[in-house]
């Protein structure tokens, strides 16, 4: 349907024989997507030596300051939204640092999360990783670590007491073979937000504490013409996140780890039970019509504009919900994910260690980059606290949230953090990308075909896992 915008090709076609031009133009999409990896690994060794301007990459930050050598650090980040406190924090810290170090220029490359993930992958294939970039924990950053792209941060994190600002254990998902490779920007848990006014309209007094109550409430809300649960399932991780929380209840923590260790398989009864429960939820009409065509933002907007009664998401959504219309007059409450069939501990959460800052091993200005990142992370919680963006950080935050004007909802969310008694990471943070993709589309399928036999779902998972384990 979409014609090739190639007039040269048209002329060639009229000549009858020279079809190759158009065909190759057609293949260009194919080629350009796959060709990103074409550059060989020679750059690997040349990266630090080939540039005459950076003749002394190993000189200390202090030395380069006094010598006044111009240094540009590229900082790829995922804070492009100027209304987001993190955007303001980023620009504030960067300009403070540039003022204190006039020879250093920080170049910001701000992208949306998905774009950044894609860009980093193509950059990694050609060994052109920015000085500072964003990675996700565990399985998602594993391939980059295997390709030896990042500089260890073990020494840097000890400087100026940076290590002590992080919560206990939060650096583990970013540590491989004893080397720390990235510093997280947050630490979140999955919770349910609910709209108190819509609950009242449907005559529901309290948020559900068991899955059976949740299903009953869904039906009550549905009968009143209210969308019970909003979700942005076009971005299929959202449904997976919810499903994994059900699995966390039916199995307990560590299911995927146990699969990897060979202690169980996807055909475990707890997995089947979780699929069944999830299907029941879909069949009860929990999600908005056409949920699989809503992307993350569109799904969240249903809740933010008061069109749905509940919303399941990581606590990172708190800031955005707090500033939206729906949370006027303390209208939004939060509750823990309920038990399923009487199983599970509500104090076990889906844990979401945040996106994290990693430093390129081949950075031309490694010393300066490490020095900047150290400064950045030390100031990160302080700046965000002032901007009311300090809910769900990976670092300890000093200060009185109530006095600083944080809402009751934010404070409730932070109280939930203190109740955390373990939990699990999301599927794609635990399993390899190929298996994760099969899982994501398998769960997405349940939204449109909730009658699928749970054992078929289990088989599909098991097959994908066996096909793709290394």
């Amino acid at each position: 349907m979409k014609p090739v915008d190639n007039l040269k090709g048209v002329n060639e076609l009229t000549n009858g024989k020279k079809v190759l031009g158009v065909v190759t133009a057609a293949g260009l999409l194919a080629a350009s997507l796959s060709a990103c990896g074409s550059s060989d690994n020679n750059n690997n060794k040349n990266a630090s030596g080939s540039e005459p301007a950076s003749s002394a990459p190993a000189s200390s930050a202090a030395a380069s300051q006094s010598s006044g050598e111009k240094v540009t650090i590229t900082f790829q980040n995922i804070y492009p939204d100027s209304s987001d406190p993190k955007y303001q924090m980023l620009h504030k810290i960067v300009s403070d640092y540039e003022t204190a170090h006039p020879n250093v220029h920080i170049e910001l490359d701000s992208l949306n999360t998905d774009q950044q993930k894609l860009k980093l992958k193509t950059q990694a294939a050609s060994k052109e990783v920015p000085d500072i970039t964003i990675v996700n924990p565990k399985a998602q950053m594993q391939p980059f670590v295997d390709a030896d792209l990042f500089a260890p941060l073990n020494d840097m994190v000890q400087q100026n007491g940076l290590a002590d600002t992080f919560q206990t254990g939060i650096l583990d998902p970013y540590t491989f073979n004893g080397n720390l490779y990235a510093l997280p920007d947050g630490n979140n848990i999955a919770i349910l937000y609910y709209n108190k006014e819509l609950f009242q309209q449907a005559g529901i007094a309290n948020p559900p504490s068991t899955f059976e109550e949740l299903i009953a409430d869904v039906k009550t809300l549905k009968a009143k013409g209210i969308t019970p649960l909003a979700i942005g399932e076009k971005d299929s991780w959202t449904g997976s996140f919810l499903f994994m929380n059900i699995l966390l209840r039916t199995y307990g923590p560590g299911f995927l780890q146990d699969v990897t260790d060979g202690k169980t398989t996807f055909e475990d009864p707890a997995f089947l039970e979780a699929v069944q429960a999830f299907e029941d939820l879909v069949k009860a009409g929990a999600f908005q019509d056409g949920a699989t065509s809503f992307d993350y933002n569109a799904g969240e907007n249903l809740f933010k504009t008061g069109k749905s009664a509940m919303y399941f998401m990581g606590s990172w959504a708190t800031g955005g919900i707090e500033t939206s219309d729906v949370s006027k007059d303390a209208n939004v409450g939060v509750f823990k994910f309920p038990t399923v069939n009487g199983k599970g501990d509500p104090n076990q959460y889906m844990l979401a260690p945040g996106s994290a800052f990693a430093v390129s091993k081949n950075s031309k200005h490694l010393t300066e980059t490490l020095d900047f990142l150290n400064y950045f992370m030390l100031n990160y919680p302080k700046e965000l606290f002032g901007l009311k963006g300090a809910v769900g950080l990976a670092q300890k935050v000093e200060g009185d949230f109530k006095a600083a004007g944080y809402s009751d909802m934010s404070i409730t969310v932070m109280d939930l953090f203190t109740s955390v008694n373990g939990g699990d990471l999301s599927f794609d943070n635990t399993m390899n990308p190929a298996t994760s993709q099969v899982h994501l589309s398998s769960i997405q399928n349940l939204f449109v075909k909730p009658d699928t036999d749970p054992s078929a779902v289990a088989k599909e998972h098991q097959q994908a896992y066996e096909d793709n384990k290394q």
Partner: protein
């Protein structure tokens, strides 16, 4: 061909820069892509560390991939709809516009308008149109109003109809493009032929049958090839509207290639799908040319 008073070397020198860029940006990547398709490679580690697996990727693609063949089928479905519905419709409209309007340019430009709109805009627009009635979807609301509630669908999320819903948008968007090509083709047919035919008693649709259709074959071929290759490559519209979902129900070959390369991080496998796409384009284009050359010979 010795009209130009320049040596072949001079010609070569002037053609060379373009040729090098063309080869470097088109043929080399295709070659590299075909080469990487022989590896089990995640696209991140250096290719030297990847495992050479010969034609295993192709073997898996053809025999062990439950998403691949349905994606191929959908791709051809797209091409089929485009060639069997969109192109004849464009030709019909082009003929009618040419005959019944004095200042056709305005109409042609209007039809062309969707082509210059960004695919993202078009995708978002039609997503809103296809939405469920509860979220303001136009089609479903109209169906509800006229009492055809049983015809309402979740157009983009029902696996059975989603692909057709996307196809309709694609047909709508590029109708104007093919209309423009074919309208121009018709305008270039000399008017005296029609006048001569009129004297012989061939008028209206009879003239179209015996004059317009045969004479427009070369132009129609361009439309045909462009629409076919465009269909094989279709990616952006589907990405915006459904993302290939729900659960691969709207995946086409290019989507599958993207998913495999970047989401599943099977770069080698994605390259294999890409190489297949290039080969398919090549074969079909040669085939179309062969058929049309036969047609042209018959009518000339």
């Amino acid at each position: 061909m010795k009209v130009l008073k320049v040596s072949n070397w001079t010609i070569a020198a002037f053609v060379l820069p373009c040729l090098i860029i063309y080869i470097g940006l088109v043929f080399v990547p295709i070659g590299v892509s075909a080469y990487t398709s022989l590896f089990q490679w995640n696209g991140i580690v250096p290719l030297g560390m990847a495992k050479y697996i010969g034609f295993d990727n192709y073997h898996r693609m053809f025999t062990g991939d439950s998403v691949f063949w349905p994606a191929v089928r959908r791709t051809f479905l797209l091409a089929g709809f485009s060639m069997l519905i969109q192109l004849p419709l464009a030709l019909l409209v082009a003929i009618l516009i040419g005959r019944y309007t004095r200042k056709a340019n305005f109409l042609v430009s209007s039809y062309f308008l969707p082509v210059i709109l960004s695919v993202v805009v078009i995708g978002q627009l039609w997503k809103t149109i296809y939405n469920p009635a509860s979220q303001g979807g136009m089609i479903n609301q109209i169906l509800d109003k006229v009492g055809l509630h049983s015809w309402t669908h979740n157009w983009l999320t029902d696996p059975k109809v989603a692909i057709y819903a996307v196809i309709v948008v694609g047909l709508w968007q590029y109708l104007g493009y093919h209309l423009l090509i074919q309208f121009t083709g018709i305008q270039n047919i000399p008017a005296d032929i029609y006048e001569a035919a009129k004297i012989d008693g061939a008028d209206g649709f009879k003239a179209d049958r015996y004059i317009t259709l045969p004479m427009i074959v070369p132009i129609f071929k361009i439309s045909f090839v462009l629409s076919f290759i465009g269909s094989l490559q279709s990616f952006d519209l589907i990405m915006v509207m459904t993302g290939g979902g729900p659960a691969h129900a709207t995946d086409v070959v290019a989507m599958h290639m993207y998913n495999m390369s970047f989401l599943s991080q099977k770069y080698g496998y994605g390259s294999a799908v890409g190489t297949f796409l290039v080969a398919m384009c090549l074969i079909v284009t040669v085939l179309i040319n062969f058929i049309f050359n036969r047609l042209e010979k018959r009518y000339s």
